[in-house]
Structure formats: C-alpha cells, structure tokens
Subunit: 230 residues, 2 copies
Amino acid sequence: MSADVAARRGIPDASVARLPGYLQALTNFAERGIGSVSSEELATAAGVSSAKLRKDLSHLGSYGVRGVGYEVDRLSYEISTALGLTQDWPVAIIGMGNLGRALAAYSGFATRGFNVIAVLDRDADLVGAAVGEHRIRPMGDLGALVRDDRLAIGVIATPADSAQEVADHLVSAGVRSILNFAPCVLDVPDDVMVRKVDMSTELQILAFHEQRRTGELDLSAQSTVEGVAL
Amino acid sequence: MSADVAARRGIPDASVARLPGYLQALTNFAERGIGSVSSEELATAAGVSSAKLRKDLSHLGSYGVRGVGYEVDRLSYEISTALGLTQDWPVAIIGMGNLGRALAAYSGFATRGFNVIAVLDRDADLVGAAVGEHRIRPMGDLGALVRDDRLAIGVIATPADSAQEVADHLVSAGVRSILNFAPCVLDVPDDVMVRKVDMSTELQILAFHEQRRTGELDLSAQSTVEGVAL
C-alpha cells in the first residue's frame, strides 16, 4: 500500500464529515465559473476556519499553492476520489411514501455518484407500481440485489414505526451501510454503519439566528437557565 | 441584559451548528430511559470529542457535575432554550411536490418547536387542494402570513429551477430565514440567512466508509491523486 492510500484510510472521521461540505462549496464555485479559490474563500463558503480546512485537506495530500490557492476542478476530483465517489454506488430506497418518492427523484444523488438501482416497499399493494423509471419491488428482493447488483447502501424512508423492521431486513440481506430518514434510533449490529438525516437540524440553526435577530428571548426560561448554571 | 444573555448571544457559529446534534443525542438517551450521561457518552453519541462538547456547552453555562455528568432532561431544556426552540416558530413550506408533502407530514419538525402554518405552491391548479390538515395556498399569501401570522422561516421544497424565484418571493414578503432543499445556490440580500439541506451529504460519508471497508479503491484514480499532491 502506498503512503498516500495509508494516509487516506487514516483520515479522521471529523474530517471525513466535512469533506462533503467542501465538495458542495467547490461545486457552487464551479457553477459560478470560478476556476480557483483561496483557502480563506473556500473555508468561508464551507463555514469552517481556514486553518481547519487546510488541515482537513492535508489528509488528502492537497496543500494548494501559495498566492493561487486551490484549483476548483482538481480539488473537487481529489475529494470525490477520497470519498469514493468516482465509482458508482448502488443504492436502494425503501418506503415509497412521499419522502421515498422525493428521494427517488432527487437529482442531487446522481450527480454525487449514487445510483438508485431499486425502490422497495413492504406493502404488497404497492409492489409493481411505477415510481419514475422504477417499479416498486418487494422486500424479499433485497437479497438478490446485494448478491447480483452489489447493493451497498440502503436508504430508509419509512415512517418511524416501521424503520426498525426495514433495518432488520437490510441487515439480514447483507447491507452494512444504512441512511435513515425516519426520526428514530435503529438497533443494528456493530459492523453496520447507520447515518441519520434529521431534517430539522438546519431549521434549528435558523431558529437560533432568528431569535438573536429579533431579540425576542424568553426571559422566564432564561432565568431558569441561569438558576441551574453550575 | 444579563451576562448570561450576552454570553449566549456570543455563542460561536460552529458551536451553534453542533447544538442540534447534542439535542438529538439527548433525545435518543431520553427515549431509552437514560436520565444522566457523562460528557464522554454524550460526545461519543454526537460524534465529537468530549473536550469540544464541554467547551460548546460552557457557552450555555452548562458544565455538568463531576462523577455524575449531565442530566438529560435539564441539558435538553437548556439547549432548546439557547436555540430558541422553547417558543414555536411559524414555518411555511413552498412547493407541494413529493418532497414538500413529505416535509409537511414530517413529525420531526413539530417535536422541535416548528409549526407548519401554511403550505404554498405557485401552480394555480394546485391551490386549494388538501395536504394533510392544510389547503395549498397561492404565493400571493406570503405577505399576509408574515404580517398577520409572524411567519419567520420559509422552506423551499421546489425543483432547482424554480427555487430562486420562490426565494425572491419570500424575501420580498419579508422572510429573512430560508431553508433550501433544492440542489442549487440562492442569491439573496446580505441580511437573509439561507441554510441548505443536501440530502446526499450523509450518503457521501457512508460511501467513504464502504470504500474503506471493501478496500475497493480505484487505483487508477489513486495514482492521479498522488501525481498532483503538492
């Protein structure tokens, strides 16, 4: 193994978690026709300090050029490669309610190297119905998708009360990476990685800034917080 | 203004961005019946170092108790208060395709203090149709929602090609906080805050770990990256 592969495999999890943000910021620069950016510009766009940005990118062996910065296209490619996005990842979406249908049509997946190869639902009445270019498949097809189509990542788009059952199905079919959109905690074996999308996270950040802007602090709650400060 | 209010208003943006994750982790502990957690347990659940967790919480005046840690309920309340979630935030969702309908039904908003007061679409043919307990309203209603119902946050759930037009509508109606689900960049005045939900971010993190797990590195891309390392 080359030193570079070793270095990449050793990228700290916190740095990995920031790479998609850098990639998104770079994509935005590219869309505006910008060919190179300073680390300060990229850091500001991604919402981190430039010191942290430079440190994160150093794990990829990317250091930029003094006075020039980073080439947008090249750095995008390097981050994509580090994240494994230069190969296509087969993805299945389970749960064909509104959210599952929205995800099946979401253009942001395809541009990031995620190939939705199947959509499934446990409701037998829905099986066979069309969703975009797909037909809804039964849960029993998961095993074949893993075996024959290299299905790697399962996306759970069901309500919270059926998410655990779907996770169990995915795990027993051999899927070890799960993206959970249901607002609940999943119980899975240690070798299965679950990431969760909480769609209210960004709303909470907006609320903080709205509160600061309007100055409408709840002063009764306020005094309670002061009372318990240790 | 008390020292505590001043301190809270000065919470660094990066800390604010991590508070929803702590709140989510605390909610998960509470759902499992756990009443108190150490800073190490909470930090692990939220995916940060315990030093960073303690520093973030110190901005709230929350320091935990040596040997006991944090009370789950109390810390949840303190974080909710700091984020402004102890008051209800009126939210409108614009774009009643699959994503908009999924968001209108998303239970995770209500439990976080976000009250969906209206759903809108620019398609006149959809206006008046039922979505859950709502009727779809026309874009022209935005001004009245801001004036009469204190609408604070607009959620854009349209395709990318109409998101800018919707953002312009929101801004001219007086909305200054926008959550954008469309995979595109919005051009807004400086006093308007836009947060973006990129639903592929977590998929990218899963892909990185899948790649590391399977060891299926693309070695041709690999050597190119080595070639450009500076």
